[in-house]
Symmetry: C2
Subunit: 735 residues, 2 copies
Amino acid sequence: MEHIPQVFWLIPIASVCALGMAWYFFKSMMRSEEGTPRMIEIAEYVRRGAMAYLKQQYKVVLIVFVVLAIVFAIMAYGFNAQNEWVPFAFLTGGFFSGLAGFFGMKTATYASARTANAARNGLNDGLKIAFRSGAVMGLVVVGLGLLDIAIWFIVLTWFYADKMTTSEMLITITTTMLTFGMGASTQALFARVGGGIYTKAADVGADLVGKVEANIPEDDPRNPATIADNVGDNVGDVAGMGADLYESYCGSILSTAALGATAFAASSGDMQLKAVIAPMLIAAVGVFLSLFGIFLVRTKEGATMKDLLHALGLGTNTAAVLIAAASFLILYLLGLENWLGVSFSVITGLAAGVIIGQATEYYTSQSYMPTKAISEASHTGAATVIIKGIGTGMISTCVPVLSISVAIMLSYLCANGFDMSMSALSIQHGLYGIGIAAVGMLSTLGITLATDAYGPIADNAGGNAEMSELGAEVRHRTDALDALGNTTAATGKGFAIGSAALTALALLASYIEEIKIAMARVGTQMTNVAGETIDATKATIPDFMNFFQVNLMNPKVLVGAFIGAMAAFLFCGLTMGAVGRAAGKMVAEVRRQFREIKGILEGTGTPDYGRCVEISTQSAQHEMIIPSLLAIIIPVIVGLLLGVAGVLGLLVGGLAAGFTLAVFMSNAGGAWDNAKKYVEEGNFGGKGSDAHKATVVGDTVGDPFKDTSGPSLNILIKLMSMVSIVMAGLTVACL
Amino acid sequence: MEHIPQVFWLIPIASVCALGMAWYFFKSMMRSEEGTPRMIEIAEYVRRGAMAYLKQQYKVVLIVFVVLAIVFAIMAYGFNAQNEWVPFAFLTGGFFSGLAGFFGMKTATYASARTANAARNGLNDGLKIAFRSGAVMGLVVVGLGLLDIAIWFIVLTWFYADKMTTSEMLITITTTMLTFGMGASTQALFARVGGGIYTKAADVGADLVGKVEANIPEDDPRNPATIADNVGDNVGDVAGMGADLYESYCGSILSTAALGATAFAASSGDMQLKAVIAPMLIAAVGVFLSLFGIFLVRTKEGATMKDLLHALGLGTNTAAVLIAAASFLILYLLGLENWLGVSFSVITGLAAGVIIGQATEYYTSQSYMPTKAISEASHTGAATVIIKGIGTGMISTCVPVLSISVAIMLSYLCANGFDMSMSALSIQHGLYGIGIAAVGMLSTLGITLATDAYGPIADNAGGNAEMSELGAEVRHRTDALDALGNTTAATGKGFAIGSAALTALALLASYIEEIKIAMARVGTQMTNVAGETIDATKATIPDFMNFFQVNLMNPKVLVGAFIGAMAAFLFCGLTMGAVGRAAGKMVAEVRRQFREIKGILEGTGTPDYGRCVEISTQSAQHEMIIPSLLAIIIPVIVGLLLGVAGVLGLLVGGLAAGFTLAVFMSNAGGAWDNAKKYVEEGNFGGKGSDAHKATVVGDTVGDPFKDTSGPSLNILIKLMSMVSIVMAGLTVACL
């Protein structure tokens, strides 16, 4: 193990610490009281529904994984078109991603009743349980991510150490590890799409019949779809979100490591190794600082919304500031070439994340003009609420796109010493900087994800309190916790999409490396810019771009870009359609129960919650297949028909259009949700007014926008890159 | 004039024929009776409102034009950064584009009452007047387009003939002429955006208060906004559409001519000249065949919707088939190199146009499943109608994008003899093929635009019949004509966006030429792929791409692509917001009149139509400025900050995302409109049911989708390219 530097061991240590603390938070949450028998009963319903769904989901995903692993095995062993580790890396990626979602969800389903029960004592107790349970999820994700990375790094180093030079070894190891990202992406996509369809079918169905037709409040136990709605929060917002961010986290670290291996290939093997482990170290230190931030989050009784926001903000912002400072120290001590510039790249990523989060809050919170204006449009009915919301969502793409653009340019320039010459080396170093920015943005994931996963726990606690009839004061406290969750969810989504964009860019560069390696494996040669025949692995990025004519006048690139943009829209269209169909089935079922089961609305008959859970589960399983497979198939077909130039066009077109579309959909959805809340707070006529009805339409339309299609796009963007990377061998074989 | 071949004179002849026939159709329409005094009175209201709007609009546009012309003059004469003809070419382009819209609208406002009056005699009489009046617009657009092109070609040839070689002259002439496209684009954008805001503010306002609140039918004279609504059809759908397609028509011909001049620069000057005039000739022959098609359109009394569609289809399809056949003949007789392949490029464009039109019809007509399913979603309320419509619209992007993609690849390959080597010459010839495909798609514009402009005339005729209380039978006939117009409008929009995409691609290539010329003018040199210093005009496309690093790993290209995609969304968001605000003002005004003017709803008081017309006019003028200026400013700023690579990224990102977004918005809007009609036909509860109310919400949301934001995107895409082309000198000066 002399090839592994001592400082590397900080990574598994951070991983173990994260998992240990997660275990500690889980145990201390489990020790608290679950509450009245009614509360326990309801929590049990939700838990059973959620676990049943996850079991069903994993069955379907398992089949997909077995099929894909066999395909990769055939490609690797049959045609030598791939590294032999790929099938295993793919499987572990999927396994760990699923595990992160599973643990997060298990915790969440145990925590909600306990949060509601703790809220009976006071706001701070409720916040503490909900937030620390959310932290379980955040810590499991970063812990498992670093564990997976550390194990593979050790195994592959041990395997390759004596077979090749350090430089070759690092390139081989990092590009091999990258393929476990595809496993994580695939699992994440199914989790996000399936979970997203599940939760919104239940939510939309419950709202349309319950709130609008039967005039009963949210989370009322008389509504047959209410348990399914609460289950949905867990499977969509917890398990789906966890798998998604697990994937971004690992994807950004791994692609940056791969970029580091190539960028510093010409330096000493030692420097190359430093570049490879730098992103892992930043992430590891981020774990410790996230933990520190988590312990800072606390509030006092009688806290206002502002106090609560302040409590969470203190934790996340402290972690962010500390990691910014720590980056300089880590990279300086590591002795990385141009450590100062690379540290600034970390900061550009962190800053872009913060700005996107702030912009998201501005465009989606009822404290600001845009959302208030959507509420005001309810004066003239539902149509103007929708028009205004779509307009606002579209305009809101401006700041996030500009932030990411500035982060791309600055992180590129900081990392290569402000060199715009586009020389081979300056490009490599610049791309490494973009990857580092993504790692920087995600380095505080331990705590940002905690604030995210906290949301559905608080939401479910509110549902439990309502169904258990705990009284107005408790419900008031859980409402305060829930409202806070809506804001943090919006910020979290901004983070998820911003990091996905930077990660996808880093993956783009990794794709080029994979193609070069695949060419070298099958013995295809390349010509460099000067026209000389060279070995593919020796090709610089300008050589590569020239050889494959990856420029904007190549019709293959242009067609690829068109198809990429279309893929994003098609994917959203399919998931929107899926939610519409599934919600329609739910509405029919709820109406049937109101009609056929006597006394439901009077509170004397018991609704058949199980049937609604089943409908959501089946619809989600059924509907998630086509959009998910599309994401896997499109890059393969484009690769076969249009080659490398077409794939790069596809990825860039999909990234640019998909990123913008995702921001639009998430923000429009969030704004509609809060525009409704603003009316419910007593503005423009308050609850029950025509204005309220108009904003309920907006909220319902926004549900699949913000919780199904929008967030799934993040994964679509990354998965298309990952599929291209893993299928590089196939594309090369068909050149 | 020995430099101008005899066959060239076919172009001004075609132009004169088109304008002459337009004059003849106009005169024969004017000779027919306008009807009862009430009909004349209403037509007069609409005409006055429309003209007042246009006058106001041209005032604002004039200011913008004067400012821009001064900027161009300073660039040309002060800094030698531009050809000296540019300011004049810019002004004539804007003037002719505005003139085309003006004539079309004048005709339309005279034709509507006459159509209603003719419909009193029978369906065929009504169709004939409406369609031939629409043909005035189609013929004026192609006639003025060819006239402008012919005049500039003659003037510039006369000016340059003795100053340079034929080859240099043709490149100079074609690239200079291209800049009048920017004048046309700028004027078109203002017309589309201003007209689009006008018409939808009035339409949405009239519907929300009239139909939904006061329960009075469409076009009821008791509704104060009804005249403004009818004016809107003229200024948005006629004047806006005319200016838009004038721009596409000229843009495609001119950019193809410019590509021909470069592609055949290495051939003899004679062959180069042939390549330059080939697109003009195809367009000229298209004029004659369009005229032939127009005369084929007729129907018999008692015709069904199917008969009417068949009548229009016979005209347009015959014209399309004939032009396909004629292309082979023209290019063979012209003696163009690879005439066979280039002819097939014409056919790929025509075929893509037809397929996009068919797909648009499938996704937006109530005869097919998608729109019926949207109607069906009204069972569960407005929210599911919106969700389903958005889902359908997004899915509907698939076929158009794939059609355009196939057309791009095939037209490229047909024109360069299936050469994928990406050699300098093969790229040039391939790009020429893409341009030719755009010309092919637009060659039948004389008749396709006639079917388009026919729509608002029939719509207004219906409005006139309703307000003049002409009786059920007449209204029934005008309804049949109007329903037909909705279908042709959808197809027309498909054509407009498809041709915009191909034209924008051709403009992309022209941009590269302009940059080269601008570099040569200021004496900047370039290095070729082999690293040798060369004169910029000698650079091939691979040299150019390599020199400016226009590849997908350049962060400037990536950032450009992000900003391009964002620009499309931002632009739509701003126009959606504008419609929302303007409609809100209209609603307030209509409510005020209902409240303050006694007896309006009883039919004893007269509404103040003029005030509503004024509100629409002022809102449109006020709201069109920011989105329009954005389209001009973004490419300039990107050019200054990110240079040539950034601009090309911007244009490709804007094109891919903008095209897909435009198809989504147009189709979703069309589908909602017809989903409402399907319910009104008596399905799912019919008029007045809850289902109907839900689809009215969908229709109202769809209004700005399909008539403001969606179609304006076509022009945004082209205008951003045009601005980049005209500003090439500035970008080069800041390199």
